[in-house]
Structure formats: structure tokens, C-alpha cells
């Protein structure tokens, strides 16, 4: 194992950057996910060899098995900003001791989701992201790193810019669902991973 900074293998990082620089077209720009409904407002997401449960039934019973989709989106943004910061700091040789990102998302009008008429849409209108960092660098350097992180964040840019959604529905019969997502070979492989 070569030298490591912030838990990142520096040689491997350097090698990855050189590979990408030499062959940028080899970086896979696509990401895949599948979601299968289980019961009620609960289902499971399958991504590569990973999976996680999403459950919207945030109710008084406290039965919920997982987080709601809106919460996963918020967590993904925080992770992208936090891990992006570590990536940029590591490239500059800055040691990060601790890092945390606190997020607060404000939905314009969630009632629209439940079918009520009203102003605004049911998505996030605004998200506040506060990073708390303990690192070996002066304030100015850290602020510059943070600005770069926000400007080049994949999930950050996905949030701040309009994404084209192309949606489609197909009715299928029962046999279609007989195979298990867990058993399926992933189409994406592992290529093209980035800290976000």
C-alpha cells in the first residue's frame, strides 16, 4: 500500500486521474438503478451489487423500515458535497481530520403530492448545506476548496439545474416479475465511479 492521505490511497488516486486524462471517453457517464415495490408505501432500490429500502409510511405507528425518497435525495447531496470536499482537499495534499455536512431542505408545497390544489410544486425549492470541517489549512484555503466543491458537485449540479426526465410506462403480466433483481448481473459494472 502506498502513501495514503485522508484514507485515500494517493497512488491509486493519481493513477485514476492519469487514466481519465489519457482516455476521457472511457469514463462511463451513465448510472443505473431499479426500484421494486414491496407493499404499501415500501420498496427496495437495487443498484449494482447494493440495495436499500425506501419507506414513506412515516406515521404514528413508527413501523417504517426505511427513509423516504426525499430524505435519500437530501442525504445524497450531503454525501456528494462532503466526499467531494475530501477529494479536492486530498488532491491538494491537505489533511482533513473531521468533516460533517448538515442539510435542511424546504419543500415548496408537499400537499401537491397528496393531490391537493395549491401554489408551488411538491419538490425542494431550497436546500441549505452547512459544512463543518477540521483540517490542516487556513480559512481562506478551505473556503476556496468548498466553493470549488459546490461548483463541481455532480449531485449539486443535478439539484441546481433542470434535469430532463423521460418517463414511460408499460403494462406487463405477472411472469415479468418472476426473476429476482438480486440475481441479475449488473449492466453497469463498477467503471466510472467518482466520489459522488
Amino acid at each position: 500500500m502506498s502513501a495514503s492521505l485522508n484514507g485515500v490511497d494517493l497512488e491509486a488516486l493519481q493513477q485514476m486521474l492519469e487514466e481519465v486524462r489519457a482516455r476521457p471517453e472511457a469514463v462511463q457517464p451513465r448510472r443505473w438503478a431499479r426500484f421494486r415495490w414491496e407493499e404499501g408505501l415500501r420498496g427496495r432500490v437495487y443498484i449494482r451489487n447494493q440495495s436499500f429500502t425506501v419507506d414513506e409510511s412515516v406515521d404514528r405507528s413508527g413501523r417504517e423500515a426505511g427513509l423516504s425518497a426525499l430524505e435519500y435525495a437530501l442525504g445524497a447531496l450531503g454525501a456528494c458535497l462532503g466526499l467531494g470536499f475530501v477529494f479536492h482537499a486530498t488532491r491538494r495534499g491537505i489533511a482533513v481530520r473531521n468533516l460533517e455536512v448538515a442539510l435542511e431542505g424546504r419543500i415548496e408545497n408537499l400537499l401537491r403530492f397528496l393531490g391537493f390544489e395549491g401554489e408551488g410544486h411538491p419538490g425542494y425549492g431550497e436546500v441549505i448545506a452547512k459544512a463543518y470541517v477540521d483540517a490542516d489549512a487556513d480559512e481562506e484555503t478551505l473556503q476556496a476548496l468548498w466553493e470549488e466543491t459546490v461548483a463541481t458537485s455532480p449531485v449539486g449540479n443535478t439539484f441546481t439545474r433542470p434535469v430532463a426526465l423521460r418517463t414511460e410506462i408499460a403494462t406487463v403480466s405477472g411472469w415479468w416479475f418472476r426473476y429476482s433483481p438480486e440475481a441479475e448481473e449488473s449492466a453497469s459494472g463498477s467503471r466510472g465511479g467518482m466520489p459522488c
Partner: protein, 177 residues
């Protein structure tokens, strides 16, 4: 417990709708969501949300340990989950029993090289996301399409992605105790 359809208590669902209708102000608190993400070393972090938490990591070929999906993958999963939950909700409200439902997603990043600082063109976020829903239900094609359209239009995560969100970032320097 009243009538159950698609795993949902229909009476409870109607009760919620009635409550919100009677007192929309009380539902305002549902508009605010919070999360915290703590770095775990390397390219791994853990998100803490209410009494839940999940790990975000990188595939093995990028110095990560591939312990969990990465952030852009969680976004895709969140969108698929949001559309599914919306579809189940809208179908159940109309009394339609669903047997099976699955959503496949494919997102295309505009230009990931900008994240690495290797290009100035475009941006590193998703440019386009293709969403395909597969449904097996007791209803005709037209009805299912109408429910799907309504679901897409009223999807919280769908609207978050399709519209520009104002991001207010802030960094504070903390020191070790």
C-alpha cells in the same frame, strides 16, 4: 384496521387526506426535511436522518471499498422510489389493486470530467434521466397511463430534479476538541 388495498389501510389514507384538507397549516411541517452526513475516511460517509442512517461509498476502481452506492446512484434510487410510492398512492386512492410494480432508471451525467477539473465544458450533474415503469395491475392501459402521468407531475423528487433548486452552501471551520 379497515380495508387494506396494496398493503395500505384505505381508511387511514382517507383520514390523512381529510385532516390535511381541514387544516392545511398543520401539514406545513412536512415541508421541511433534514439530514446530516459524517465523513468516515477515504471516500466513505454516513448519512444520518431521523432514526435511520445509510452509508455512501465508491466503487472499488476509484479507491473506494464499494461498501454502498455512491451519491449520484442514491439520487436515481430516490427518484425511482418516489415515483413508485406516488404510483401506489394514486392507484390506491382510485381503488385499483396492483400486483407488481418495478421502475428501471438510467441517468446520464452531462460531463463528469468537470468534477475532476479536467474539462470546462458542461457540468457534472445529470443531464437526462430515463425512467421506465413496469406495472401489473387490474386496470386498463389508459387508466394506468393517466395515473402514471399524475404521479410524474406530482412527484416530490421528480420536481426537485426537473426544476432548478436554490442551493445555499456554507462552510465553517471547526477545531478538534
Amino acid at each position: 384496521m379497515g380495508l387494506v388495498l396494496n398493503g395500505l389501510d384505505v381508511e387511514q389514507l382517507q383520514q390523512l387526506s381529510a385532516q390535511v384538507q381541514a387544516n392545511p397549516e398543520a401539514a406545513r411541517s412536512l415541508n421541511r426535511w433534514t439530514a446530516r452526513v459524517r465523513w468516515l475516511g477515504g471516500f466513505k460517509g454516513r448519512a444520518y436522518i431521523r432514526n435511520h442512517s445509510f452509508v455512501v461509498d465508491e466503487p472499488a476502481d476509484l479507491v473506494g471499498q464499494d461498501e454502498a452506492p455512491n451519491a449520484v446512484e442514491y439520487v436515481l434510487g430516490a427518484l425511482g422510489a418516489c415515483l413508485t410510492v406516488g404510483f401506489v398512492l394514486n392507484a390506491t386512492k382510485r381503488g385499483i389493486p396492483l400486483r407488481n410494480l418495478e421502475i428501471a432508471l438510467e441517468g446520464e451525467i452531462d460531463n463528469i470530467l468537470t468534477f475532476l477539473g479536467l474539462s470546462q465544458e458542461g457540468h457534472p450533474g445529470y443531464r437526462e434521466i430515463i425512467v421506465k415503469a413496469y406495472v401489473d395491475a387490474d386496470a386498463d392501459e389508459e387508466t394506468l397511463r393517466a395515473i402514471w402521468e399524475e404521479t410524474v407531475v406530482t412527484s416530490p423528487v421528480g420536481n426537485t430534479l426537473a426544476r432548478p433548486v436554490t442551493l445555499r452552501p456554507e462552510l465553517r471551520r471547526a477545531t478538534a476538541a
